[in-house]
C-alpha cells in the first residue's frame, strides 16, 4: 500500500495539477509558495512518483492539436470471453488505457493514434481481431471544468 499523503503532499497535489512555474528554477519558486525547500519538494515528488500516486509530472497534451487522433471506444463482451478479448485489445499499441466497467458495455478504452484518420483503421483491426463490434465515441465537445482533482 502507498503511504497516505500528508498535509504537505496534499498541498502539492492540489496546487500543481493545474499548472507549474515555467522559469529557470521552477521547483524553487513552487517550494517557496509551499513554505518548504526546493530539495524537499523534489524529494516529495520523487516519492509520490515511486509510489505511483502520480502518473507523471509533466505536460498533458491536446492530442488533436498535435495532429493526432483520440477517441473513447466501448465494447460489449460476454463475461467468459472478457479476459481473452482484453488481451487482444491491449496488444494494440494505440490503446492508451482500458477499464472494465459494470454495464453491458463493459470494456472502455482510449485510442490514441498519430493521425485522426488512423482511428477508423485501428477500430476495424480490433473488430477483425476480436470478432466484436467497437463503438467509437469521440469527444464532440468539452464542457468547462472549474476545479482540479482535490485530495
Amino acid at each position: 500500500m502507498s503511504p497516505e499523503p500528508d498535509a504537505i503532499d496534499r498541498a502539492i497535489l492540489n496546487r500543481y495539477q493545474g499548472g507549474f512555474p515555467i522559469c529557470e528554477r521552477p521547483y524553487q519558486v513552487a517550494a517557496r509558495e509551499l513554505g518548504i525547500s526546493e530539495e524537499e519538494l523534489i524529494r516529495r515528488l520523487q516519492g509520490m512518483l515511486e509510489h505511483k500516486q502520480l502518473s507523471r509530472f509533466g505536460p498533458l497534451y491536446h492530442a488533436e492539436r498535435l495532429g493526432g487522433g483520440l477517441s473513447l471506444c466501448a465494447m460489449r463482451i460476454p463475461a467468459d470471453q472478457f479476459e481473452q478479448v482484453a488481451e487482444q485489445v491491449n496488444a494494440f499499441p494505440e490503446v492508451a488505457h482500458n477499464y472494465a466497467r459494470d454495464h453491458a458495455f463493459n470494456m472502455w478504452f482510449v485510442l490514441a493514434t498519430e493521425t485522426p484518420e488512423r482511428i477508423g483503421a485501428v477500430l476495424q483491426e480490433i473488430e477483425q481481431r476480436t470478432g466484436f463490434r467497437v463503438y467509437n465515441m469521440p469527444k464532440l465537445r468539452e464542457f468547462f471544468i472549474g476545479l482540479r482533482f482535490e485530495v
Binding site: 502507498s2 497516505e4 502539492i12 497535489l13 500543481y16 495539477q17 493545474g18 499548472g19 507549474f20 515555467i22 529557470e24 528554477r25 521547483y27 526546493e38 523534489i42 512518483l49 509510489h51 500516486q53 502520480l54 502518473s55 507523471r56 509530472f57 509533466g58 505536460p59 498533458l60 497534451y61 491536446h62 492530442a63 492539436r65 498535435l66 495532429g67 466501448a74 482484453a86 491491449n90 490503446v95 492508451a96 488505457h97 482500458n98 477499464y99 472494465a100 466497467r101 459494470d102 458495455f105 482510449v110 498519430e114 463503438y135 465515441m137 469521440p138 469527444k139 464532440l140 465537445r141 468539452e142 464542457f143 468547462f144 471544468i145 472549474g146 482540479r148 482533482f149 482535490e150 485530495v151
Partner: protein, 158 residues
C-alpha cells in the same frame, strides 16, 4: 498554432515528465540541443496555443485511494445540452464533462462525466444530490463504475 520540428523534439522529450532537478528546462534543452530560454519560450507558447492543455502533476486516482471511479452518462435532449453540460462542468466533484455521439439503438447517452470518490456509496450519494440540486430528474442516466484497470499509459508522441 504551427509546430516546427524543434517543437516536436521538445514534445517527445518532456512527454514522460520533467526532470526533477533544480534547472529542469536547462536540462531538457541540453538533451535536445536548445538553450534554456528557448525551451521556456516554446513551452509557454504551446500552453498559450493549447497544444499543452496543462503542465504539472498528473495524478493516479486509484493509488490515492480514489477507487470508486464513476463514469456517469446522460441522455440529454439536444436542446438542453448547453445548459446541462455547463451545470455539470461547474460542479467541484466532476473532473471531466464531454459531449459524445449517441450510438442508437444500443447507446442513447450523449453526455459523459467523471466523478472520483473513495467509496461507491458516497459517489452515488453525490449523484443523487446533484440530480436534485441541478434539476436533472427527468434526464435518463446510468452510472458505470470502473472495475479493473488493464492498461494505463499516456499517449505517446514521436
Amino acid at each position: 498554432m504551427v509546430l516546427n520540428e524543434q517543437d516536436y523534439r521538445l514534445i517527445a522529450e518532456i512527454q514522460g515528465g520533467l526532470p526533477l532537478s533544480s534547472h529542469p528546462y536547462a536540462e531538457i534543452g541540453q538533451r535536445i540541443g536548445l538553450d534554456e530560454e528557448t525551451v521556456i519560450g516554446r513551452i509557454d507558447a504551446m500552453l498559450e496555443g493549447g497544444v499543452i492543455k496543462r503542465l504539472g502533476i498528473v495524478v493516479r486516482h486509484h493509488e490515492l485511494g480514489y477507487t470508486a471511479n464513476a463514469m456517469v452518462v446522460w441522455d440529454v435532449p439536444d436542446e438542453r445540452l448547453d445548459e446541462v453540460g455547463a451545470k455539470l462542468g461547474a460542479l467541484d466533484c466532476i473532473t471531466l464533462c464531454y459531449q459524445r455521439p449517441r450510438r442508437l439503438p444500443d447507446w442513447p447517452y450523449n453526455l459523459f462525466c467523471m466523478i472520483h470518490g473513495r467509496e461507491r456509496d458516497k459517489v452515488l450519494g453525490y449523484i443523487d444530490r446533484l440530480i436534485s440540486s441541478e434539476g436533472l430528474a427527468e434526464i435518463p442516466h446510468k452510472v458505470l463504475f470502473s472495475g479493473r484497470r488493464f492498461k494505463q499509459r499516456g499517449a505517446r508522441y514521436q
